[in-house]
């Protein structure tokens, strides 16, 4: 299983939100993640053509620390697979 990592460069709020069973409000956002490498579970280098590419993914945020930019972020294995197949806008 492969997992891509990157840096969150931009967060767009979509305006959509939902409240969970504990009463926490989660806000739908689009994260712009600049790819940097595979995570440590993958012992191979990320393909050269992906370096620096921006991937857009959906993330639901609730707490202040979720909105920080220029911090590391991880794609899911499914998102990683889509990126490796050439998709970079995963919001659709």
């Amino acid at each position: 299983m492969k997992v891509l990592r990157g840096i969150v460069r931009k967060i767009e709020k979509t305006g959509e939100s939902t409240v969970d069973e504990e009463g926490t409000t989660w806000e739908k956002c689009i994260f712009h993640i600049e790819l940097t490498s595979f995570s440590k579970r993958t012992k191979e280098e990320m393909p050269e053509n992906l370096k620096g590419k921006i991937v857009k993914v959906i993330r639901w945020c609730a707490f202040d620390w979720h909105y920080r930019t220029n911090v590391p972020a991880t794609l899911t294995p499914e998102e990683t697979e889509r990126v490796l197949k050439g998709s970079f806008d995963l919001t659709v």
Binding site: R5, W26, R59, A62, T74
Partner: protein, 365 residues
């Protein structure tokens, strides 16, 4: 996401559904909490919803433990390592060493070394599961709920203990007889690595090395001494796990900031418990080593002893930085003393698990 997947991800510096959680408690804390409503004999890992279970391995030479003297509050025993110690009968606390198991290289070679044979079938056991078959079954069962690591006494603690347990004893040998120490470290390191390999072969998820190499003002030994005597043994234990891409966690008390690069070089992937009172700060460490090392603990027990405001402040001042990008498992900065009420502790776990959730990938998560 279950605990195994969560911890595997976090220790590989990936985000999970939330931060992980593991902790340790004094026996007196449990007694206090039972008076405050904790069900008797409850399995605390399960009760508090921890993610990691440590399967201890018996690394002693298996001498019979003999009680030689009994006082009202203390007992004098010769333990399974052959060390004479005085310890409290019914409370936690560091035992007071009275006599070492080994004084000279000749003694070690003649009486101790032959007992460290990792090939003996009886060696692959833990105190709870003396037979390998039971151990394997227990491991599979625990892995249904936890990320299960083999917990092993590290080489520094091992050698320190058999030389009489007091830190000043082993420090004197570094000066007085380094050749003797080199031999003992080599034998002990090989033994520990073979024992942990046996656990690796039955399918544990990682290794947890208990090896206090520091106190509140710094390491017991210099980086140079660490590299010469201890690091090669750490590397032997750890690299067999790293070759399978499994995590290796080092537990060491004290302020060990100046050794961290060497721990990473030895192959460790996470550091625990990050004693706040000794000056360890996960926020600083994350900044410096966050792309190479995961962190476990660092929640100051003095805050947990205080009250709701202090607990919230402590957790929320550290968690957002430590959790970012993965690589953080919450817990106290050593172990939970009886000054912490059950109510305060429950609050801590609630805050950790609530605010430690990562941005969701889907609303249904």
């Amino acid at each position: 996401m279950d605990s195994r997947e969560r911890i595997y991800s976090l220790l590989h510096l990936e985000e999970a559904d939330r931060v992980g959680y593991v902790d340790f408690f004094w026996s007196e804390t449990r007694s206090r909490w039972e008076q405050e409503g904790l069900p008797k004999d409850v399995f605390l890992c399960k009760y508090f919803g921890m993610d990691i279970y440590i399967m201890g391995v018996d690394v002693s030479p298996k001498f019979d433990t003999v009680t030689l003297e009994e006082g009202k509050e203390w007992v004098v025993v010769r333990d399974a390592f052959g060390v004479l110690i005085k310890r409290w009968r019914a409370k936690s606390g560091t035992p007071f060493p009275l006599a070492p198991a080994v004084r000279t290289l000749e003694e070690f070679k003649e009486y101790f070394e032959p007992l460290l044979d990792p090939e003996l079938p009886m060696r692959v056991s833990s105190s709870k599961y003396p037979f390998k078959g039971d151990l394997e079954k227990a491991l599979k069962k625990m892995q249904e709920e936890f990320f299960v690591v083999v917990g092993v006494l590290g080489p520094f603690e091992y050698v320190r203990h058999i030389l009489g347990s007091r830190v000043d004893n082993i420090l004197r040998y570094f000066y007085k007889d380094p050749k003797m120490l080199e031999h003992i470290f080599d034998v002990v390191g090989r033994f520990l690595s073979k024992l942990t390999k046996a656990f690796l072969d039955i399918g544990v998820d990682g290794v947890w090395v208990w090896d206090d190499v520091g106190y509140n003002r710094g390491p017991f030994i210099s980086p140079k001494m660490y590299k010469k005597f201890v690091q090669p043994q750490h590397r032997r234990i750890v690299e067999q796990f790293r070759n399978k891409n499994l995590p290796a966690i080092l537990h060491t008390d004290g302020n060990v900031n100046i050794l961290i690069d060497h721990f990473i070089d030895a192959g460790f992937t996470a550091l625990q418990p990050l004693e706040a009172k000794a000056g360890m700060d996960v926020r600083v460490l994350k900044e410096k080593y966050g792309d190479r090392l995961a962190f476990i603990g660092n929640i100051d027990v003095r805050a947990l002893s205080s009250g709701p405001e202090a607990i919230k402040k402590e957790v929320l001042s550290k968690l957002p930085i430590a959790a970012t990008g993965g690589g953080y498992i919450g817990g106290s900065d050593h172990s939970v003393p009886p000054t912490v009420s059950l109510e305060n502790y429950r609050l801590f776990t609630r805050i950790l698990k609530k605010y430690g959730r990562y941005p969701l990938r889907r609303v249904s998560e």
